[in-house]
């Protein structure tokens, strides 16, 4: 069931280019799948008329808390990053279809680039709760692009690449040594489009199942306006409703 809820901002951690917001709901949370997102309202920002789609980064059902990891790219995200604790943040959530439910027998690799690492934390956490230990390949231009690495290490085996070598191996995502050494059955990706394409190419070449999370521009987030469509093998489909996570077989990649 989708909800519209006024959350209270209870904790904020600033990482320079990004910020993590921990938000508490006055009522119990509905089921939320990894890879689903929220449409976040930005108040008092005249340039931000529409809501902003942001992935669910973490969920604590007992404490009725949702965390978001947000990169400051424009007016809306900068406004959210500047909120003070105690502020109200209205969200419509949970939206869309997330990553396929993990199968305990599979070796799963999660690949995140930049703020694309956001939904993978919740995915890895859910997998670790099922007794799995996913491998996480987290990639950025520089170390500052990869906040909360310690937290990721608690829920999976973390591998890192940065383009400047400031953390982990130096180079781009697909150059990491793990691609030569590890056998995987499934890859879940979220990040810049170019990176996702490169990973999808590897997956196709090796016949590995691969799911990617798209970031098409959205208006309603509910499958009502048809603004966010992706041209797939089934024609134009709404990313907000049938995605944002798609198996690459369904895309024209």
């Amino acid at each position: 069931m989708k909800k519209i809820t006024d959350f209270e901002l209870i904790e904020k951690e600033d990482f320079g280019n990004a910020v993590m917001l921990r938000l508490r709901s006055p009522e119990p949370l509905p089921d939320i799948d990894p890879g689903q997102f929220a449409q976040v309202q930005v108040n008092d920002s005249p340039a931000t008329y529409l809501r902003r789609p942001i992935s669910i980064h973490d969920v604590d059902f007992d404490r009725r808390e949702i965390s978001l990891l947000i990169q400051k790219v424009g007016e809306g995200t900068r406004h959210l990053a500047a909120l003070e604790c105690g502020s109200t943040v209205n969200m419509v959530y949970p939206l869309g279809h997330g990553y396929s439910a993990p199968d305990a027998k599979e070796r799963v690799l999660l690949v995140g680039g930049g703020v694309g690492i956001a939904p993978l934390y919740y995915l890895a956490k859910r997998m670790s709760q099922l007794g799995m230990k996913p491998a996480l390949l987290l990639c950025g231009k520089t170390k500052a692009d990869l906040p909360r690495l310690e937290e990721y290490q608690k829920v999976g085996d973390v591998f890192v690449t940065t383009e400047d070598g400031s953390c982990g191996e130096k180079g781009i995502t697909t150059a990491h040594s793990l691609w030569k050494e590890q056998q995987v059955d499934r890859i879940c990706v979220c990040g810049p489009k170019r990176m996702m394409h490169a990973v999808a190419d590897i997956a196709k070449e090796r016949g590995i199942e691969c799911e990617v999370s798209l970031e098409n521009l959205m208006a309603c987030g509910l499958g009502a306006c048809l603004c966010c469509v992706e041209d797939t093998v089934d024609g134009n489909v709404c990313v907000c409703k049938e995605g944002p996570v798609f198996n690459i077989r369904r895309l024209k990649w």
């Binding site: 008329y49 419509v92 521009l217 509910l222 009502a224 603004c227």
Partner: protein, 304 residues
Amino acid sequence: MVNLTIDLGRGLVLRNPVMTASGTFGYGEEYTDFVDLSQLGGIIVKGTTLHPREGNPYPRMAETPSGMLNCVGLQNKGVQYFIDTIYPRIKGFDTNVLLNLSGSCLEDYVRGAEMVDVLDKIPAIELNVSCPNVKQGGMAFGVTTTGISQVVSEVRMVYHKHLMVKLSPNVTNIAEIALAAEASGADSVSLINTLMGMAIDAERRKPRLSVITGGLSGACVKPVALRMVWQVAKAVKIPVVGLGGISNATDAVEFMLAGASAIEIGTANFIDPAVSMKVAEGMKAYCERHGFQKVTDLIGALDC
């Protein structure tokens, strides 16, 4: 107790003046987690054409100050698919379900209207003669008096229920177009559809929309819409349905005062999916506060 009922004629009676605008509310199903549809006067479902349409390529929208541009391009699976697959799912809704019908030639409008005429639970169609996105489509009909007379009178011959004609604001004299629709048999007119606009990404020196131009909607269009509703309401005798930038009950009341008999809410549904219900409640509260026994007393009650 305030009487909120609005009778738009030829069997179309609304529980209250609030409807949701075509293209912004899907088929209603997308909003049932947020809105009790039985609290609305009606919902107007997605623009539908006789034949399926893939619509325009992505990107289809651009945010603008207090509004947005879209060039969805009438993506839909066609009238037959609507009848076979969607209608059975939504015909039980406890509200008026109106179909927004569009076409790229006269024959398509007529055939589409004929097919919808037999659907029990669709009390009206809203004829979209104004969608600015379709290259050789709607635009031609909606912007000239001869064009609109032609399409409305042809559809009138085959369609026996309430015929609402949705007007384009991209014209010089909207009252003249509305009069032509009235004279050709329209039971009501709704306005405004989106205003033709454009957005550019200066950094990349590229248009933001795939087909360059698109339709502007949202709070920013309200003053234009209000003015047009006022002009049309003065000119015609049939009921006028007002829309364009309505975001709250006060906006809705303003349209009624300007002469609208009912209103539609579009883009505001994206900002608050529950807004339609809140507007209905707020209009009732306004009537109570100002001592109006019935909402129809608001129609054209502008003091000027």
